[in-house]
Each structure stands twice: as C-alpha cells, then as structure tokens.
C-alpha cells in the first residue's frame, strides 16, 4: 500500500492538490489585501466557489495535508529527507490548528496581514520541494554533443496552432457579433500560424542560449538544469503579473512580491515532482528531459499521439465550460498556456538523440524572414485591400476572439506601446483605481435653494444590475417576454439612447446617486457632500425604503426611520421578485395605518433597490425552466428577465391597489449592461464595450407633471442624468453646474426641461465613460452613435458605430480622430482630477 504513494503519479497528484490549495489561499489573501478587489469580489462574495473555499479552508487543508503525508511516508527513512519531512509535518499540524482558529473568511480585509499571508502561503510548497530534492537521488546528463530543441518547438507550434485553428470556425458560428468574413478568417489563420511559429522559435532560441551558457560551467548538466528552473520561474512570474494580477488591477510592489514568491515555489515544486518521476525510471536524463519528466507518457508515437489528442479534447472542453464567466479571458489564457507546456513535453519525449547540424540557425532565420515578410504584407494589405473585412487591424482582432492561443501569443508577447501612445496610457493608469491617497469629497449641488413647484410625488428607483435594454420590448420589438414592462413603457418616457457612465457597479451606482462622474477611487468618504440624491431625499422628507447592500451600507446615509429591504439576505441573492414582494407587503400594511388617497397627508415614499439575479456571477450557473425557449437570446438571462417582468407587473398592480401609482415617479434602469457572448466576451470585467455601457431608462411621471415639462427621447442620456431628472420631476429647477465648461460634461443634466430650453448642445459634445475596475476609458459622441475606447490595460484602442441599425460594428479611425479623442479624454479626466484636488505621484 505504501508503495502506491511512492509512485510518481500519486506524488504528482498530491503535490498538485497541495499547490492548488496554497495557491488559491494566496490569491484569496491578495484579493482581500487589495482595497479594490476586496470591495468588488470578496465583500459581496461574487464567487461562490471562492467563498466556499474560504469558509471550508481549515477542513480542506486537513484533507490536503493527509494526502501529502501519505506521499511523504515512503521517504521519511532517507537520511537527507528525514528532518525536512518530519519538520514539515509538525509545522503543518500547527498550521492546521491555526487555520481552524483563524478562519480565512473572517480575516480583516485590506490589512497588511493578508499580504503577508499571501506570500507566506507559498512556503509549504517550497518546503515540500526541498523534501522532494533531498528524498531523490537523480543524476543529470551532460551531453557531449549539442542537440537542438528547435524541431520540438516547431512541431509544438504546428500542433497548438492546428488545435485552435480547427475549432475557430465553430466558435465563430456559435458566437454572435464577430464580423469576420471568410477572407478575414483566412487572414487570421495566416497571422496565427506565423505568430505561433515565431513565438516558439523564440522559445527554442532562448533554450538553446541556456544550454550553450551552461556549457561554459564546470558541471554543464547541473547548471543547465538550474538555468531551466530560473527560466521557468521568470516565465511563471511574467504570467502571474500579466494574466492573473493585471486584470484585477493589482500592480506594484505587492504584485511583484507575490508573483516572485509563487513562481519560485511553483517552479521548485515542479522540479521536485520531476525528480521523483526521473528516479522511478532509474535513468540519467539530459537536463531538459529531466525537467519534463512529469510529462513523459511513453516513448512510442502512439502513446504521444493519444496524449496530444487527449490534451486537445480536454482543452476545448475546459474552454467550453469556463468561457461564460471568465474575467478578462484569464482562465482561457491559463488553460492555453498549460496546453503549450504539455504539448511541448509530450513531443519532446519523441526527440531523437541526434546531434544538431552545424548550421542549425538556418531554420530559425527562415522563420524570422517569413515573419518580416508577413509584417510587410499586412501593412500593404491595410492600404490596398478594397474589402473592409480584410483590414488587418479588424480581421486579426476579430480572429483573436475565437482563437485563445493566438490571443495569448499576441497579448503576452506583443511589442511595446509606441512612444506617443505610451504617455497616454500611462496617464490613464495614473488616474485609475486610485489607492492609498486621502482625498476630500466634493460638493454636488443641483440647486442653491429648495423650492417646490408642485406636491412631492413618491419615487421608486429600480436599478436592476446588468439589465440590458435589448432584452426589453420597448427597446427591441423581437422581445415577446416582457409584456408588463411594455405596458409600463406605454405610460412612460422611454429614453432610447441611454448609457451608463461606468461599466461596472463599483463606480456606476455612486455616480447615479451623485448625478455626476466621480473620481476613479473606491471611495472618497464621507460620500454625503457628493450624494445629491440623498440630499434631495432628505430635503423632501421622504420615508426611505432601501435595499441593504455593501454600497448603501457604506455610502448612503441612513435616516433613523429608514426601512431596510433584503435584510440578512446575501447580496448576490437579492432578486427583484423577493424585494418587490417584501416592499409590496410593507406598502399594503402602511396604507392600512397611514391612509392613502387625496387629502390625507402622509410622508412621500422613496424606494431604492438593486437586484442582482442578472449579474454574470448568477447567470453563469442559471438554468432555463423546462418549456421555456428564447431563440436569438441567451436563454438563462432571458428567462430571468421574464420573471422580473412578471414581478414588476405585480408590483405595479400593488401600487394601483394602494392608490400610489398615479402620483409616483417610477424609474426602471440599470447600473450597466453586460456582455453575453458578443465577440466571445462575457460579463463586465474591465471592458467598456457597447453592450456593457447601454442601459434601459424608462421614467414614468405623474400626469400632473407631464404637461409642464418636455423631453427629447432620442437625445443621448446618461445614468448621471437620473438624479438631476428627479430634481426636475420633484419641482426643483436644477441648473447648469457652474459655467458651461468641461466640468459640465462630467455632471448630469435633467432629462425633463421647460419646453423651450435648448437641448441641442448635448448632441455635439463627447462624454467620458469608464470602466469601474481599471484604466479603460471611452467617449460617447455624435448623440450616442459613436464610441471611442482606449484600453489602458491592453494598450489598445477601438471605435464603434452605435447607430441603431449598425449592430455596434467596429469602425476605423483617422489619426486626427484618434488624437482628438485622446485629447478629449485627457481633458475630462484632468478636470475630474482638478475637481478632487488629485494629482498622480511622479
């Protein structure tokens, strides 16, 4: 029995589980340490899996420790490994006890202790690696002749390219919203093949340099092996920084510290498993073969072929499973990188022990020449191609959406940003996710003195998280599953071109309350001076009914008689039906006590709620009830919209029953939209693509008010207009905030105005929008028909035609347009920084 746990496979599995446990522990602690990720991921418990891991952390550690101990047992008798092994077990027992008394999920957020724990979590892996090295006695061959690794690299490049290229047409067919013609697909294949070949040739040259440098040492074999360890450590550090940490805006010293610690631990752990694998074969291996020993599945072509096919199938199955909830393609990139390594390892086992030819460099030189020729061809194609689908900038970008391997190659090893753009992207990053700076709150006041031109109506503000307008019939005539909202819209004002100023809840909701863009920091507190909505609600003496979530708890001042909705309900489980059901009961009860109808004085009601059943974290696991189908729509999402519609209709019936409907202002909107597969995008990570920025905005006003005000339903409108619009509907006269300058572009405007007020100026201006979670900014211009995006994470720019019948097609930009857009973004971000008295550190 004990021999079972001495086998390389058992040891490999145990080490992998152990590494995964401590790696996830480190990631959790790092997310908790970073204020932004703590607010957005940990506190609202966005990931159920991560939350469960933290809750059951102690028990999972005990399980992992048990498995690890079984694989240590066969080697504890060995002199060199004995003390390392026993000390590891004793320390782990102590650690286990500490985990049970200091549960992970109860650790204080954003404390330095979490950063320390994130780094220290890598120590067990390193400790075990020491044990594995001490427990095995493996010789490393110092080859007398040079054996080139380049043929393996080329075969790996060809295999990996083919695996993803073959699947690209299917992914294109299954995905909507990618404008890629047959010619564009061919161009994508060509560029992808060239990129894979060039990239793996580069890797082969690096490996060749390493083996050559090792040749100068006294022990070439051993030196070569440890140089491979160093390269692996550097590669893992690079991947962690670019793929894992940058997408969640974790940079700087903390990111480097954790990445290097994790990379050293992972590379060392791998080395330990490799030595066990080599020891079981009782062979003296070449350094690279020793390093790849865990991947040696056999020396026959059949075994390798089966292994490669299995790896390809597993890769596609994994991607199909994870693509609907994959923050910034993070998991797809990691799966792809794993395939690269596994394929290389499998193919290398077939490498023949032949000396490389003297002129081994001819092959790589041909690759470099081909790559250069390809670059020239692409630049010529951009100017000469009459077919817009062959524009390399668009075709290659579109192809990258359906080929994760090419996306990884392009994103990880893309060339540096040109000097003129580097400064611009640096500016964006310097003004984003501001941390560690104390800023004073700004005052947002839409009126100097309160007045009331008419009696105060009740206000119901429904901000349905992630609700898209194209799933509502007032915006999309092909929708047949929102009859209640359709009927509501017929009695309301439907603003056709409404956009959120922020592509994520974190900043979008506070900006709605402020009626203005706010600085890219979560958050400048106290928020009271900036919260124009709260000022309005207080001034008018509203009785408040507010859903309790992490934003309202932190940023919306509670009055003594605030009625909290959804108390004790986990935030991610807030649903529209549950909340409106609770609210309806409260209103019906209240109507019995306070009376209702004309002539009976009562405090007006203000309701604020943000249900989350449409959030991508919930949609990813949502099922479609039997009997429902939604052709042309994402069925789980559409099914939940249908349910929301039914509950919305029931709630409006309650308002009519309690005689509250006629004198109510009812706003149905969302804080942002979401990607549901457009261009293989899911969710609303850093992106600010059109489908994430578009929101529904349907406002019902009492009959008595309608006749006094006017609106332009096709004029571009923003989430930051909601609060000043409420001011106008409640009888106030919100004026222009200060003079007509850049700052007015940041602040919302009332959507209902006196009939003769000039509204045309907004059609000519460009309005800043942003991601809530990273340095991605955009401009909405031409009355909501054009979107320019500058992505400071990937140093990339886009432009989209948002015209109603153009399906958000990506369009080109002239250099003048690009420069004008960058200037406008700089100007508005700069004005926002001035307003808050913020300047980035040099």
């Amino acid at each position: 029995m004990i021999r079972l746990f001495a086998r390389p496979l058992s040891i490999g599995i145990a080490r992998a589980l152990n590494a995964a446990f401590f790696f996830v522990t480190s990631v959790y602690c790092l997310l908790a340490y970073n204020p932004f990720t703590y607010e957005q991921f940990i506190q609202p418990k966005v990931s159920a899996a991560l939350t469960s891991f933290a809750v059951w952390h102690g028990a999972i550690h005990w399980l992992v420790l048990s498995m690890t101990a079984l694989t240590l047992a066969p080697f504890l008798e060995r002199p060199r490994a004995k003390w390392i092994g026993w000390s590891y077990l004793v320390a782990s027992l102590a650690l286990s006890a500490w985990f049970f008394t200091h549960p992970l999920w109860l650790q204080e957020g954003t404390s330095r202790g979490n950063l320390i724990l994130a780094v220290v979590s890598m120590c067990p892996l390193l400790w075990l690696a020491f044990f594995d090295h001490a427990a095995t006695d493996v010789g490393v061959e110092s080859p007398e002749q040079f054996r080139s690794v380049l043929p393996t690299c080329w075969k790996t490049a060809t295999f990996v390219f083919a695996v993803y290229a073959v699947a690209a047409p299917l992914r294109l067919y299954l995905t909507g919203g990618i404008a890629l013609t047959a010619g564009g697909l061919g161009l994508g294949w060509f560029v992808s093949a060239l990129w894979h070949l060039a990239l793996f040739t580069t890797a082969g040259l690096v490996l060749t340099i390493i083996s050559t440098l090792a040749g100068y040492a006294r022990s070439p074999g051993r030196t070569h092996y440890w140089l491979l360890w160093a390269i692996a450590t550097a590669a893992v550090t690079f991947v962690l920084l670019r793929v894992l940490l940058a997408p969640v805006a974790i940079r700087g010293a903390a990111a480097w510290l954790v990445s290097v610690a994790a990379a050293v631990a992972v590379a060392s752990a791998w080395s330990g498993v490799a030595r066990h694998a080599a020891a079981s074969r009782s062979a003296v291996l070449a350094p690279l073969d020793l390093w790849l020993a865990p991947l040696a599945i056999g020396t026959s072509g059949t075994a390798v072929a089966i292994g490669l096919v299995g790896a390809a199938v597993l890769t596609h199955l994994s991607i199909a499973r994870i693509w609907t909830f994959d923050w910034e393609f993070m998991l797809q990139k990691l799966v792809t990188l794993a395939l690269w390594v596994v394929a290389f390892g499998f193919i290398q086992t077939l490498a023949r022990n032949r000396a490389a030819p003297r002129r081994f460099w001819i092959g790589p030189a041909l690759v470099v020449v081909s790559f250069a020729a390809g670059q020239v061809l692409l630049s010529r194609l951009a100017t000469r191609a009459h077919d817009g689908g062959l524009n390399p900038e668009f075709a290659v970008d579109s192809y990258a959406a359906v080929d994760p391997s090419f996306r990884v190659a392009r994103d990880l090893f893309g060339s540096g940003t040109p000097a003129d753009a580097a400064d611009f992207y640096g500016f964006l990053r310097a003004h984003s996710t501001i941390q560690g700076r104390q800023l004073e709150p700004v005052d947002v006041d839409f009126v100097r003195e309160w007045s009331a031109r008419w009696p105060t109506p009740d206000v119901f503000l429904f901000i349905v998280d992630s609700l898209r307008p194209d799933y509502l019939s007032p915006y999309n005539k092909t929708v047949g599953f929102t009859p209640a909202i359709d009927a509501f819209a017929a009695d309301s004002f439907v603003f056709k071109r409404a956009f959120s100023r922020y592509a994520g809840t974190g900043l979008s909701v506070p900006a709605i309350w402020a009626g203005s863009m706010i600085i890219h920091k979560q958050y400048v507190t106290p928020f009271g001076p900036t919260n124009a909505l709260e000022k309005l609600v207080s001034a008018k003496g509203y009785r408040r009914f507010i859903t309790e979530d992490h934003l309202t708890s932190e940023l919306f001042e509670a009055s003594p008689d605030t009625m909290r909705l959804d108390r004790q309900v986990p935030e991610m489980l807030h649903t529209f039906c549950r909340t409106t059901g609770e609210l309806a009961r409260m209103l019906e009860e209240r109507s019995l006590h306070e009376g209702h109808g004309a002539g009976k004085a009562r405090r007006p009601i203000f309701v604020l709620t943000r249900p989350l059943e449409l959030h991508i974290g919930n949609i990813a696991s949502a099922k479609v009830p039997p009997g429902e189908s939604y052709p042309g729509f994402h069925a789980p999402y559409a099914s939940r919209v249908r349910r929301i519609d039914a509950c919305f209709g029931e709630f409006l019936d309650t308002l009519r029953r309690t005689k509250l409907y006629d004198n109510s202002v009812i706003v149905l909107t969302s804080d942002h939209g979401d990607s549901l597969g457009e261009g293989q995008r899911w969710g609303h990570g850093f992106t600010a693509f059109p489908e994430v920025l578009r929101i529904p905005l349907i406002i019902r006003a009492p009959e008595a008010i309608r006749g006094r005000l006017s609106a332009d339903l096709a004029r571009v409108s923003f989430s930051t207009d909601i609060t000043p619009t409420l001011y106008a509907l409640l009888g106030e006269s919100p004026g222009a905030h200060g003079s007509r300058g850049v700052r007015d572009l940041l602040i919302g405007s009332p959507l209902f105005v006196d009939p003769s007020t000039d509204l045309s100026w907004r059609r000519r201006e460009s309005y800043l929008v942003a991601s809530s979670y990273g340095p991605v900014y955009g401009l909405i211009s031409r009355n909501g028909r054009h979107l320019y995006l500058a992505d400071g994470v990937e140093s990339r720019e886009y432009a989209f035609d948002l015209s109603p019948d153009r399906s958000d097609v990506r369009v080109g930009m002239t250099d003048a347009e690009r420069e004008a857009s960058r200037q406008a973004i700089r100007q508005q971000i700069g004005e926002l920084a001035n307003w808050y008295g913020y300047s980035p550190e040099p």
Binding site: V368, Q375, A382, R763, A816
Partner: protein, 146 residues
C-alpha cells in the same frame, strides 16, 4: 569554446532580429486621411463638403452644412442634406424640425406636417415640434434659423 560561440552568436542575432521586426511591424500603420475634419470651420462650405466624403455619417456636420446652404439660399441642397442626415438617424427630432421648417418655407405643408408629427412623438412637450405642427395647420411661415 568555439562551438559554444558558434551557437550563441547566431541565437542572439536571431532573437534581436525577431524583436526588431516585431516592433517595426507595429509602427508601419498607414495614416488614412490627411484631412483634419476635427477642426473644421463652420462657415467654410467647401471644407465641410470634403469632410463629408470622409465622414458620411456625421450628422452634426450635415446640420452645419445645411445651415450654410440655407444662408446661401441653396434650398434644394439643404433639403437633400437634411434628408441624408435622417437616413443616418431617423430619430433625430431636431433634424425633422429643421427639415419641416424648410419644407414649409418651400410650400410643402403636407411634408412639413409629417415631419412635425414624427418630431412631436420623439420630443414630447418640446416647443419646436409643437410650433411647427401649429404652423403647418395654419399654413404660416416659420422663422428663419440663421
């Protein structure tokens, strides 16, 4: 040693060549149009017409050009440009009012009324569409918008 150098030097040269090619390839992006339409002067009709060929969906540019045509009494061109703008954006209420006023001035009260009715639906309560609708009913001349 000789064999080590024989491998090391070509590898370093090839790696350098790869990164140089990659960097130069990114910089070889062609510029599309030298015409700087971001800073166009509204009164320059010729410049606006040239910009329109590069930016055929720029409604704000069309509105400025239409005003310029009206000032120059080129009513046919103005009507054509307003209709072109409405093909780009059928929901532009301001453009419908502008076209309606032009049609009324040219004696097409029926056409003006149709534009006014659409504009009223797009801009409920706004004085522009309301006034135009009233004018089409009484057959009056709209004020010239210069």
């Amino acid at each position: 040693m000789a064999s080590h150098h024989d491998r090391l030097v070509p590898c370093l040269i090839l790696l350098t060549a790869f990164f140089v090619v990659r960097t130069l390839g990114d910089r070889a992006r062609p510029s599309v149009s030298p015409l700087d339409c971001e800073r166009i002067v509204a009164a320059d009709m010729t410049a606006m017409e040239r910009c329109l060929t590069v930016r055929p969906a720029d409604i704000e540019l069309m509105a400025e050009l239409g005003r310029a045509y009206e000032r120059a009494d080129r009513w046919g061109r103005a009507e054509s440009i307003y209709r072109q703008a409405l093909e780009v954006d059928v929901d532009d209420g301001d453009m419908r009012v502008r076209l309606g006023q032009l049609l009324l001035r040219r004696g097409d009260a029926g056409g003006a009324r149709r534009q006014a009715e659409i504009a009223v639906a797009l801009q409920p309560g706004r004085s522009g569409p309301r006034d135009l609708l009233r004018q089409t009913a009484i057959g009056g001349q709209p004020g010239l918008d210069r």
